[in-house]
């Protein structure tokens, strides 16, 4: 019993100290867009009366069907340094109404990046995807890979971090009871609870890290030109491999001068001019 108790204590502190240490690596890699937005005018946490005015006007323009005016207002807000997922979402709606499927998809994808898991944004993207000329079937993934990806996507980065905090408190409370109680049955029950919570803290901590890393490492773009010739190399002298159309989401792999190597879900890849797509 004494040995189990010692092991439990050691495990608890090792893992509790390890989880924040793992997550601490992320603090230096926060999304650049967010920090830039803060750096410009420090608006991230403060009220902005002009932004409010522009936002309200944009809403009114949208209701009147003046989508280009509404879009202009949303762009002004974004240019002032405020990167809010609702503003990008509304901007996407304006573009969609203006039948600009590429910019609409770009705005919605940016909104989704700022607020992963937002059901309304996902619905709009799914709806507009039907209107994109190119349809790609996602390559079949291994069952376990698909399951793991599904679990990671269950919550946003913040969601996983909050869950980690909750488990830390529950684990801490259980360990406190374990140390202070003299009742043997209770001590035994909380000992097992402590072990379970330690495992949960470790798991959710790792999932927080993976979830954040996934957002940061994935680099996607949206085709904005009506159609783009994807070439076998960086330059117009290279043969055209295939054609992509406006609104298609591409994986941005590397850059060389004015050219970017991209790939699409069916495995095709090639080079397109930087001017033909927008980075999410």
């Amino acid at each position: 019993m004494k040995i189990i108790r010692k092991i439990t204590i050691i495990l608890f502190y090792v893992i509790l100290l390890l989880s924040p240490a793992l997550m601490a690596q992320n603090t230096g890699d926060q999304p650049s867009g967010i920090t830039e937005a803060e750096d410009i005018q420090g608006l991230a946490e403060t009220d902005n009366p002009s932004a409010r005015k522009l936002f309200d006007e944009a809403g009114e323009y949208y209701r009147l069907g003046k989508w280009d005016y509404a879009a202009a207002n949303y762009i002004k807000i974004i240019k002032s340094g405020i990167e809010n997922h609702i503003i990008f979402y509304n901007l996407g709606n304006c573009y969609f109404r203006m039948k600009k499927i590429g910019p609409a998809m770009l705005a919605w994808e940016k909104a989704l990046k700022l607020n992963p898991g937002d059901i309304q944004i996902e619905q709009n993207i799914a709806f507009a995807s039907r209107m994109i000329a190119d349809k790609f079937e996602e390559p079949e993934r291994h069952f376990l890979a698909a399951l793991f990806s599904g679990i990671v996507s269950l919550f946003s980065v913040n969601g996983w971090f909050i869950i980690t905090i909750i488990f830390t408190w529950l684990g801490g409370t259980a360990f406190f009871i374990f140390q202070t109680t003299s009742k043997r049955v209770l001590k035994r029950v909380v000992m097992y609870l402590v072990i379970v919570f330690i495992l949960f803290i470790f798991t959710t901590g790792i999932l927080t890290y993976i979830s954040y890393n996934k957002i940061e490492s994935e680099n996607y773009g949206i085709i904005l030109a009506p159609s783009v010739q994807v070439r076998s190399g960086p330059g117009n002298n290279n043969p055209v491999l295939f054609v992509l159309h406006e609104g298609v989401k591409v994986n941005v792999e590397s850059e060389q001068g004015e050219w970017t190597r991209i790939s699409v879900p069916n495995g095709f890849n090639g080079w397109i001019n930087k001017r033909t797509f927008g980075l999410i």
Binding site: E45, R52, N84, A133
Partner: protein
């Protein structure tokens, strides 16, 4: 037809015979014409025959079902599975075209010959049952055929007495007409009759149509009866027979410095299915010719020129992702018969592809994305083909019946088609317009019993509306783990437990140094007890006073030696202190014994000056002892 013959009895007989022959010929010539009249548009004739009505057990019987008609594209193949007395070994199909010139008009007819190879299983007389083909709701039936099977092998020879006139007509070697026509032959027929195949283009892209026209050139002679056009169907092409306008098939043209009458025998659209230099096999045609100086009713055979077509691959550049191999020029349209409907009620959704090219390549519009919105019934497909100056093409129509499952505004997205246009040598795309259907909730909720559509698909008839921001417009939430507050929240329970654990460790350490601690605190502890003793003196409790003094001294030694203060005795103190300081040991012993004595003496000993002196003495003793223990 006029014949100029000498007027004599022998010649009169000859004329009589010729008249008979002419009547037969006329009737023969009339037969296909009558057939063609009987075969009204869209009708077919189905006949069957065997190669012999008597065969041996070692022979094979060839049972042929012939289907004739102007358009046989949708006629089902006859089924012959169970023939009494025979095993069906296999089947083959050949296609030929029958061409007929009647006056200034020509008539073409397709013939599909389905030949079944039968092997007899036993001797006797058997009946090959009638074969039925149902086409356009009409059932065509052949006559049953009697066949006798005998032992061994029966030579399959046709006696001349059993030949029909038709058999003779199509046989060059031993021909009724040839024998008779030789009587009047004067010239060999050479370039008076020519068959020529002309492809519209000799270099095409893969899948691009080539209109191949077969012409019959005739000069100085007249064509009577003609045979089928025989030709091996090309392997590397998809062939579509083109229904011709019979009024425009005859014209006067100059060829090889001669004036010919040119009949258009046949037109067909060839769609190459592979690249390279492909050969289209020539045609062969038998026909009866007659003319002044050429004899009467010669049967000649003419073979057309072979045609080579170079087929180029489609360009690999700019291939649209949804390209399925359609080559030509097409447009697509879609419509519904009603834009407002209730759930459970049916509406017709029609998709029409029209243009030039191989209609068979056109993909079926996918209704997969609507399976949760509509019950989609299998489509009815119609095809209308036509030949224009631009080429062969037409319309292909898919008629879907859709039954809405859910109420709301439903948008049927544009139907899209990508194709390669050989004229512009580029890939092109076409699409229909989106269709909006307003679906109201109907009463008949029992129509749809499938799974409930998922939330996203059910709700996404349009994009979601714009959203509002309440309060301050700020940047989106930063990740929590870049905010100190959340780190404090994460680390707080850990720190609390760490503090708790630290306290436990400190307490544990203290327990380990308890003896030293007690020794260190011995003097202070004893003085505190003496101070308590002084308080009892004021209350004139002599017994308690001396008891406290003894306890103070005993506690001092108990602390110094880490012993229990209640269990220590004067004798123990004397024995343990003696090695350290014998005089002091004696002095302590005397003092404790004195105190013991006064304690038992009672309250009277608590009066006067004695208690004060006892306290001073105890204090001095403790000071002396502390010096000894600190050495």
């Amino acid at each position: 037809m006029l014949l100029f013959l000498p007027e004599s009895s022998a010649r009169k007989n000859m004329i009589r015979k010729f008249k008979t022959v002419f009547i037969i010929l006329f009737l023969l010539a009339l037969t296909p014409f009558m057939q063609s009249i009987l075969n009204a548009d869209g009708e077919i004739t189905v006949t069957s025959q065997v190669n012999a009505d008597k065969i041996g057990m070692e022979d094979l019987l060839y049972f042929t079902v012939q289907v004739k008609g102007e358009d046989l594209s949708d006629v089902p193949a006859p089924q012959v599975n169970n023939v009494p007395g025979f095993d069906v070994l296999g089947r083959s199909r050949s296609t030929s075209q029958h061409f007929q010139i009647i006056g200034s008009q020509s008539k073409s007819e397709l013939v599909h010959s389905h030949t079944f190879t039968l092997k007899p299983t036993k001797k006797g007389k058997f009946t090959i049952p009638a074969v039925e083909i149902t086409y356009k709701n009409v059932t065509y039936k052949t006559n049953p055929i009697q066949v006798e099977v005998v032992d061994g092998s029966v030579a399959q020879k046709r006696g001349s007495n059993r030949r029909s006139l038709l058999d003779d007509f199509f046989n060059d070697d031993d021909d009724f007409f040839n024998r008779r026509s030789n009587l009047g032959r004067r010239k060999e027929i050479t370039d008076e009759v020519i068959i020529e195949k002309v492809p519209a283009s000799k270099e095409v892209y893969l899948g691009e149509q080539v209109i191949e026209t077969t012409y019959l050139y005739v000069r100085d002679v007249q064509i009577g009866q003609s045979s089928n056009i025989d030709g091996t169907p090309p392997n590397d092409f998809w062939v579509e027979q083109i229904k011709m306008d019979t009024n425009a098939t005859r014209e006067q043209v100059r060829k090889n410095e001669h004036l010919y009458t040119r009949f258009t025998l046949m037109k067909r659209a060839l769609f190459p299915t592979k690249t390279g230099n492909l050969k289209v096999e020539p045609y062969t045609m038998k026909m009866q010719v007659r003319g002044i100086g050429f004899g009467f009713g010669d049967i000649i055979t003419r073979t057309s020129n072979p045609v080579n077509i170079i087929v180029k691959p489609l360009p690999r550049e700019n291939v649209p992702s949804n390209f399925t191999g359609v080559v030509g020029r097409f447009s697509v349209s879609a419509k519904v018969d009603k834009n407002e409907i209730e759930t459970g009620k049916a509406l017709n959704f029609t998709v029409t592809y029209s243009g030039l090219g191989n209609l068979k390549d056109l993909p079926e519009p996918s209704m997969e994305e609507y399976k949760d919105i509509f019950t989609v019934y299998p489509p009815e497909v119609e095809q209308e083909t036509e030949l224009s100056d631009a080429g062969w093409g037409g319309k292909k129509i898919w008629k879907f019946i859709l039954v809405p499952k859910i109420a709301g505004e439903i948008i049927i997205n544009p139907v899209r088609l990508s194709y390669f246009d050989p004229l512009s040598k580029s890939y092109k795309a076409t699409s229909s317009k989106p269709i909006t259907i307003k679906v109201a909730q109907g009463d008949s909720t029992d129509v749809y019993t499938g799974p409930i559509p998922s939330f996203v698909e059910a709700e996404n008839k349009d994009i979601n509306y714009i959203r509002n921001i309440d309060g301050n417009i700020t940047g989106s939430t930063r990740p929590y783990f870049v905010k100190p507050l959340y780190w404090i929240l994460l680390l707080l329970p850990i720190l609390i437990n760490l503090g708790l654990l630290l306290n436990v460790f400190i307490q544990s350490g203290r327990k380990k140094n308890l003896s030293a601690f007690r020794a260190k605190r011995a003097l202070a502890n004893s003085r505190r007890i003496l101070s308590d003793a002084k308080k009892t003196l004021k209350q004139e409790h002599g017994e308690k006073f001396y008891d406290a003094v003894i306890k103070a001294i005993a506690s001092y030694f108990a602390d110094k030696w880490n012993l229990s203060s209640s269990g220590i005795t004067i004798e123990q103190i004397k024995n343990k202190l003696k090695p350290l300081h014998p005089e002091l040991a004696q002095e302590v012993t005397d003092f404790l014994e004195d105190c013991e004595f006064h304690r038992f003496a009672g309250a009277k000993d608590a009066e006067g000056d004695r208690p004060r002196k006892t306290l001073e003495q105890a204090g001095d003793l403790l000071n002396s002892l502390e010096k000894v223990f600190n050495r």
